[in-house]
């Protein structure tokens, strides 16, 4: 498997890497072209360019001066905070960006051009698979404090979604509690899934001493469905729980969340009699896992 990955890397850097970057730039240096691209039609502030491209502030500044000298962008102070500077494309800058875009388009076409129609369809399908799975591989999971803004964002999204999907809406106060303090060590664990630093999913454990631990707040962003994030969150939560000495997990869920129910079933959760009086639940699940490795 690994050797296939390496062969893939070789071929793809030959064809995509070499062409994509260098070829697109041409009239500008690669750095300028990337910057022009990243600024986008709406304009952007310098700070977000810096973090977005991962460049040194001095370097970004210099690139902007050179784009400014070429009359491709204008840089002005932001209205709200005069330390922050805002970059916008000039008319010429927009044209230039369109040219870059057009080149990328042609590059992509030229990659498909030599193939037969059947091969094209197969290649594009395989590319979609690779893209999806590589994106999945870039998702990072890490425990964070439930008061962290990223955790809060996930929890708000979770509430919004449940409220939308449950037939009767969802009122967290009528439901069994999962307050911040309950999801923070040592009472619990809050796990965040993020892609490029942006939160895209979460899951939590609420420990009950010797009693089975509860899985709570499992949520995956719409934009990240189908990447297996839910399964990985569940796996990681179980592993964390196991490290904490827990060998039995419980959870309850609403019949509206069919994909979650499928996930639990296929992850080894077995439906059991109701073990609590959660008003929004239709299904109660339990799973025993092997104890922590010797």
């Amino acid at each position: 498997m690994v050797s296939q990955v390496r062969r893939f890397n070789r071929i793809v850097t030959q064809r995509v890497g070499a062409l994509e970057d260098r070829f697109l730039a041409r009239d500008h240096s690669l750095g300028e072209a990337r910057m022009l691209w990243e600024i986008g039609p709406e304009g952007r502030d310098v700070r977000s360019l810096r973090t977005g491209l991962g460049l040194d502030s001095g370097y970004v500044s210099r690139l902007l001066r050179s784009l400014e000298a070429a009359r491709l962008v204008t840089v002005g102070a932001s209205d709200t905070d005069k330390r922050i500077r805002n970059v916008r494309l000039t008319a010429a800058g927009s044209v230039e960006r369109a040219v870059l875009d057009d080149r990328a388009e042609r590059r992509a076409e030229s990659l498909l051009a030599p193939l037969t129609p059947v091969q094209r369809v197969r290649l594009v399908a395989a590319m979609a698979d690779v893209e999806r799975l590589m994106t999945a591989a870039m998702v990072e999971m890490a425990p964070i404090d439930p008061s962290d803004p990223r955790a809060q964002y996930c929890l708000r999204s979770y509430i919004r979604e449940l409220n939308l999907r449950f037939e009767s809406g969802w009122d967290p106060s009528r439901s069994i509690s999962a307050a911040e303090a309950e999801l923070r060590p040592p009472s619990g664990i809050f796990l965040l899934a993020s892609l490029h630093g942006n939160p895209i999913g979460c899951g939590a454990i609420k420990f009950h001493g010797e009693e089975p631990a509860e899985i709570k707040r499992m949520w995956v962003s719409d934009s990240a469905r189908g990447l297996g994030i839910g399964r990985r969150l569940l796996n990681d939560l179980e592993a964390q729980g196991a490290a904490h000495g827990t060998s039995t997990f419980r959870l309850e869920t609403n019949r509206a969340l069919q994909e979650a129910i499928n996930l639990y079933r296929s992850s080894g959760y077995v439906e059991v009699a109701p073990f609590n009086d959660e008003p929004y639940a239709h299904h109660w699940f339990e799973k025993r896992i092997a104890g922590p490795a010797k």
Copy 2:
């Protein structure tokens, strides 16, 4: 389709491009690392390094001096031609190369690591597809003179293969002629398929004035089977023939070449009564194509 290709390019350069190159080098510059890699355990002459990596001779020379200074390679004159210099890895150089190899291996593993087993299998399969089809897309087809060494290589390979696969072997002199002069404009056309400059397939046309043209010498290297090269050669030959005013093509083939027979059938060739007395043929095919575009 094109937008999928572009999304693929973006993701893949992010993940493969950025990591692969820079990450591997570490102790050396990227140029040195690439060179170390390309030299290989067997050693190589400077010339092939230069063409293989596509670098300026001065630059290659400088890189070699720096590797030599680090005692990773030795450079000595070739036995047969004292202008040519031979590069070999020292013991330390081999160790260093193994370290690079190991890093590439780990990189590849780390790409798979976050995925579930099912996802890994899917990703690797999709990568194999992409690799195969991108390789196919890199194959170039161009008419060349049949006396060109690359054409000669293909023709020799063709003869060897037919001799091997025909039940009774193959003696070109008993077969209908397809001499160099017959496959060269204006009498004919010889089309070469090459990958990275190396010949991997060929096909030819022998014109007969107003009479149907003959397709001859269709061959694809073992190493390039399954890439659709045969079909593209045939397509291109027909297009060339059409541009030359030919609208009917004929060919005959031996029953041992089943994959070729399938190719002809699925490309619109219809089996017809024998139109010549080729002693090695079991099937005769014909195809009429639309005239050249208005």
